[in-house]
Amino acid sequence: MSESLQRPPRKDPQKRTVTPTLPPQARSRQAIVFSTAAAEGRLALQTCGACEHVIYPPRELCPKCWSMHIEWRDIPDGGELVSETTLRTSVNTYFRERMPWRIGTVKLDAGPLVLAHIHGDVGAYARVKMIARTDKSGQGVLLALPEKETANMADDKQLRELTCNPKHRRVLVTDGRTELGQRMAAALAEAGASEVFVGIAENWRPYAGSAELAAMARVEIVPLDVTDTVSVNELAGEIGGKTDILINTAEYVRPGSAMQRQGILTARDEMETNYFGLMRLIQAFGPAMRGRGADGDNSACAWVNLLSVYALSNWQVYGSTTASQAAAYSLSQCLRSEFTGSGVKVVNVLFGPLEESWRQPLPPPKVTPQRLADSVVHALQQGIENVTLGPVAEDVVRRYKDDPFVLERELIQSGERQAI
């Protein structure tokens, strides 16, 4: 069993904040495909399309049959630890700061031998369950977990380096006026966050659920309007230095395409929240989070963006809103790039139609706010960066991965119909 992680003590104000350092980041183009699957929490390896040989490390040719028809496939996660060591020195500063560090050779059930990080609860020469996740450098790595769940397993030092566990961390939920924001706050408090700051814009307007939100344990309501630079900056001035996880639940959704609208005011409102709101949050909270990526057990660790899956490809029914979400998606990629080097992950959740009033006429299947909140907590606990949520989103992402230009035409053809 792992030792249960205790709530970190208050920070010694005389101590310098540790500068984030990184594990090795350079990878080949093929290895980046591995990282991309790891960012989705998938364990995918190259598999020869001709002879089914599973290949590792990634390469251009099947070493068994010389076929170049190589596919990336999810593989079974079982394996066996065949050799291990505990490193006590490293040429890399990140690892040097975290010694001792356990690694080993694992023989995967799928065939290949891999080097992997080893969870502290894995026994000698034991069966293991492999996961692929992105590390602090943003690149995919393998970690061997005990085959069966152990006590406090999530608190293992090496596993925690790959995850963004909310336990004992301080979280900002940017908009608590909606059911989504309220469910998110509750889910994070439930997951062990030490404090959940919940932003409320225009507190002069009443909103449903306000009393319940105010009564939630470890929830603190703070004034925050992402459309107002002054408001965002003021809150960052207060809590920016102790925001470990930021979850942007603010969204502005209205049906309508470009020509169904008169004027640009609604589009501007969409941009004010969905794009400029994100920009304001990044400018106000980003620098402090980036500087705190290695700040102990409650270091800054994740920035969560919730985006309509149509951010990937425009859907005319919400044509203008999805354009603003595409802008937000693009900005999230910029943020991910800017956070490189900090160890803070950008978690993007692409979801299908949400069960809320502005999407009320859309047919099922829909994603409930509770499910979205749960999936964010799960992604944080698991260290997953890219989440696709709900059947509609899964369908769109699948087509997007196949060919985004074909998806664009399919969405045009689908017109008013949601399912494509």
Binding site: W204, R205, D225, T227, D228, D269
Partner: protein
Amino acid sequence: MSNSNSTVLEALASAMASGDVQTVDLTHTLDSEFPVIVLPPEFGQCAPFRAEVVSQYDERGPGWYWQNISMCEHTGTHFDAPVHWISGKDLPNGSVDSIAPGAFVKPACVIDCSTECAADEDFLLTPEFIQAWEKKHGEIPAGNWVLMRSDWSKRSGAAYLNMREDGAHSPGPSADAVRFLVEQRDIVGFGTETVGTDAGQAAHLTPPHPAHYLFHGAGKYGLQCLTNLDQLPPTGAILLCPPLKIKNGSGSPLRVLALVARSAA
């Protein structure tokens, strides 16, 4: 003529210099957190005040500070022109840029309804209430502003709009009161401390939103989100309320000042 006129202004200047005439600010600070009117969400919305720093003695401008600001014509303490409402859309000189400037400097009568509004948040000002006031303070002269003092400006946060599931609850004039002020008193405009000239529940009056519909239809103006009305005398104050000269503007945020004689205040 010119002599006597200049004498009036000189007397005013000296009264202001001596403090015998004082200037009262009836304006709220433009602040991003100040409430704006809330319409049903499928309608276009009134934009709140926003400021973005252009530069502040920094790399964007090392020696100077300035902001870009944005808002609706009806954000904060603001002026309503007749074209704001459909009933006034065809009136001549109905937009802020075309209103003759004399309308922006006029005497004001202040009807104190604060006690009644404290007791009844949906209080409606009636012709009878106005006439009772006139019995004490004299008939409202033509060409005056009428300001309805509710002390609503002393409320803050959620209590200001006072939104409930059936909408906002705040005082305003009844349709008859509006008709009375237009037809019987020919006032220049009507001002309130609330977010609109109409009561919060005025959508349910006949006609709906009578202050907007009837005042603007008659070429009268509106002032909203006023404050410090409790510092004005019932009569005798001079109101200074020029809106921004916005082409075809339906209204404008503005600074509203009142000149008040010291003895009267």
